[in-house]
């Protein structure tokens, strides 16, 4: 188990390095840097001005070196100007003596995530704050999605082919076929529209960032939960239906155990192994949903930050966002693997 864990960890780190390098490479292509220079300076910069701006900000070095500096494996760049010395690890322009005292390495490994060019603040603090808001959203999504999906799946799977099964399965298919931007629009139209709708909820979740109430937070939570729910419910149904045909269930039934007890005490535990993995693997997809829903409901969380960073080519923020999302994806994959082995003793890692 220990060796398995270590190997997985190694692959994880390698994956994370590759992915961040790809993001780094794509964001540091020259047309992107040119766009960055023009949004930071002014839009009528000449080509020479763009190049001198980029040189001053340290963007003109070869990409692998810049990546090493961002990672904190190579010493940060410094540049001597007539006014003094600037550099990656130096704030503003300082004298050579102060520059000599400054830190040599400042990258992700040193906990230095850089500065966002859009928000003009520290990337680490932006990500921390936005991630907190998204965590709140995700928590309620999980609270709503997981139990309802499991209940739907178990109810549908315990009597395969019955009318309940048909109805619930249709609902699951319908919910997997509805992406967030469709269900969000329909839900807003039905529940929040000021002209014809029921006006039960609010169509925007901006207020929910400070204090979330049922009225302003339910629609975004429901929108994300619906899309994931169908898939988990279908998995649970398949797994439950398979367990219900097992020998030991038949034995229990022949012994005269009540149907209720068979489902709750015998079938349920074994039927929930497969959905567990599925729930963990849903995280990357939920991340997608988060981006769409936060844009749709104007909730300024992690997904909203991703859109802002990507559309403005805010390199350091975008890298920070991708580091976090890649880690979330990889850690959930690891947890799902370990959980699967732990829940199902028939499978061994070696």
């Amino acid at each position: 188990m220990g060796l398995f864990f270590l190997r997985r960890l190694g692959v994880m780190i390698l994956t994370a390095l590759c992915l961040t390098f790809i993001v780094f490479f794509l964001t540091n292509l020259y047309p992107n840097l040119e766009k960055l220079a023009k949004t930071q300076g002014n839009f009528r910069m000449s080509d020479e001005q763009v190049e001198s701006y980029l040189r001053k900000e340290g963007y003109m070095q070869p990409t692998p070196i810049k990546y090493g500096q961002w990672l904190g494996a190579l010493p940060g760049w410094t540049l001597e100007t007539p006014d003094g010395v600037t550099g990656r690890c130096i704030d503003g322009i300082v004298t050579p003596a102060q520059a000599a005292d400054a830190r040599q390495f400042c990258g992700i490994l040193q906990g230095d995530w850089g500065v966002s060019t859009v928000f003009k603040t520290d990337v680490a603090s932006i990500i921390g704050e936005r991630l907190g808001l998204t965590a709140k959203l995700m928590f309620w999504v999980m609270v709503l999605m997981v139990p309802s999906a499991l209940i739907i799946g178990v109810l549908a799977g315990m009597r395969e082919g019955s009318r309940t099964d048909r109805t619930l399965s249709t609902f699951s298919i319908l919910s997997t076929a509805t992406p967030e931007y469709v269900s969000g629009v329909i839900l807003i139209a039905v529940f929040a529209s000021s002209s014809v709708g029921l006006k039960w909820f609010k169509g925007t979740a901006t207020g929910a960032m400070k204090d979330a109430t049922f009225e302003n937070f339910f629609l975004p939570v429901l929108t994300i939960a619906l899309y994931g729910m169908g898939y988990i419910a279908r998995m649970t149904r398949a797994s439950m239906a398979e367990v219900m045909t097992a020998q030991y269930i038949r034995t229990a039934r022949l012994k005269g155990v009540s149907f209720r007890n068979i489902v709750v005490k015998h079938a349920l535990r074994n039927a929930l192994i497969a959905p567990f993995t599925v729930i963990m693997l849903q995280f990357p997809w939920l991340l997608n949903g988060v981006v769409i829903v936060e844009t749709l409901f104007n909730y300024k969380g992690f997904g909203w930050t991703l859109v802002q960073a990507a559309s403005n080519n805010d390199i350091e923020l975008l890298l920070g966002v991708s580091v976090v999302s890649v880690i979330v994806v990889l850690v959930t994959q690891l947890i799902s693997d370990i959980g699967y082995v732990w829940l199902n003793p028939r499978i061994s890692v070696s």
């Binding site: 790809i22 319908l174 931007y181 629009v185 529209s193 000021s194 990357p284 994806v329």
Partner: protein, 390 residues
């Protein structure tokens, strides 16, 4: 003229869609008549779920082809803006209609005073043009790489699986934001990616024919010749925009959308094919083929692949639906396709801004996308049920 009521709107929409009804009726009549002779496709008509799904899918296919391709259904031009029709409710008479023009906006006007009904119909054409082909290409890439990975295993498998997991660990939206921007198009990266990805169908077909017919050189040369001439011609035109005859080309923004959708879909296909190949290679008929002295590619493409077709066909349907969702996502974030484009994602995105006041610009494309994806899901379910019955 007075605005027309809901009953008349519905009747007019149904009449306007007559080519679709005719085509659907013909398809169903012929298919049910000959269903015993049509294999898996014929069996689909034994399952109500499969039939419902098939009907939904074909509805949009015909609507797209007749509306977008032949201009039969649409009532107005999708880009023309008529003054005085901005955000007008469904059934509003056209402002200053001339003779020969359709007198109503059947589903109202959007915030740029364009006809919503026509845009939804042409939006179907946008999906039909891209989604099936992108999915097919993703399958070619996934099959060409997944079969050897599953069959040989070892270092090749480790390497390819690592690459696939790498792409799968990327949040899809981040990847789209990085790939589908004008700046990246300017660097030419999508063209290189297209150059690599679009090679796979040609490679796949060449290996396919060569593995089967290498003992009959005349037949093989014929098939390979046709594949190579047609394939390379299309390849040059689509990927490099260098068709020597100047007939085939692809707009750069469409190419980048196509490439990124193929790129995102192929790792999943790879994983499915690899899993199936690992399972099937232990079967007796594979051992028999090995004993006969067949080459590895013959075994992979003519023994393993046909026996993996059931799950692959089901996944193909599901994946077209998923591709439709992805295309909508791209449109929703305003990536790739031009902002005027009538595809459903862009239309939903435009409509949602005024959603609390006007529902009619956003709801029809949303329901259209929902019904198409639902149809594909039901179709996949029907196919799965019928293929398991054997």
């Amino acid at each position: 003229m007075e605005p027309i009521g809901w009953i008349e709107i519905t009747t007019r929409i149904l009449t306007q869609l007559w080519p679709v009804w005719a085509a659907l009726f013909a398809t169903f009549a012929l298919s049910i008549r000959f269903k015993r002779r049509l294999g898996l496709y014929g069996k689909l008509f034994d399952s109500p779920i499969g039939m419902t799904g098939f009907a939904l899918v074909m509805f949009w296919v015909f609507a797209g082809v007749f509306g977008g391709g032949f201009d039969l259904i649409t009532t107005h031009d999708v880009l023309s803006q008529v003054s005085g029709m901005k955000n007008k409710v469904p059934g509003t008479p056209l402002n200053g209609a001339e003779a020969g023009e359709y007198p109503y906006y059947l589903m109202g006007g959007d915030n740029l005073a364009r006809d919503v009904f026509s845009r939804v119909i042409v939006g179907a054409w946008e999906v039909i043009k891209i989604a099936p082909f992108a999915t097919l290409f993703a399958f070619m890439v996934g099959i060409t790489l997944g079969l050897p990975a599953g069959y040989y295993g070892g270092k090749l498998d480790t390497f390819l699986s690592f690459l696939a997991n790498l792409i799968l660990a990327f949040p899809v939206i981040l990847l789209f934001y990085l790939l589908v921007t004008p700046e990246i198009v300017a660097t030419g990266i999508p063209v290189y990616m297209a150059g690599v990805l679009f090679m796979f169908p040609i490679v796949f077909l060449v290996i396919l024919f060569n593995a089967r017919f290498h003992t009959q050189p005349s037949k093989r040369n014929l098939y390979l010749g046709i594949t190579l001439v047609l394939g390379l011609w299309l390849y040059l035109g689509i990927a490099w925009n260098a068709d020597p005859l100047g007939l085939i080309s692809m707009p750069p923004n469409l190419l980048v959308v196509f490439v990124s959708v193929v790129f995102v879909n192929s790792p999943t296909v790879f994983r499915i094919v690899r899993g199936l190949a690992m399972d099937i290679k232990t079967r007796d008929y594979v051992a028999a083929a090995q004993t006969r002295g067949e080459g590895p590619w013959y075994i992979m493409l003519w023994e393993i692949l046909p026996n993996a077709r059931g799950p692959l066909i089901v996944d193909f349907c599901l994946r077209i639906g998923y591709t439709t969702i992805l295309l909508g996502t791209l449109g929703f974030f305003g990536l790739g396709l031009s902002s005027e484009s009538p595809d459903w994602g862009s239309t939903i995105n435009e409509g949602r801004k005024l959603l609390s006041i006007y529902l009619h610009p956003a709801l029809p494309p949303a329901l259209a996308l929902l019904s198409l994806v639902l149809g594909l899901n039901l179709l996949a379910d029907g196919l799965r049920e019928e293929s398991l019955k054997d």
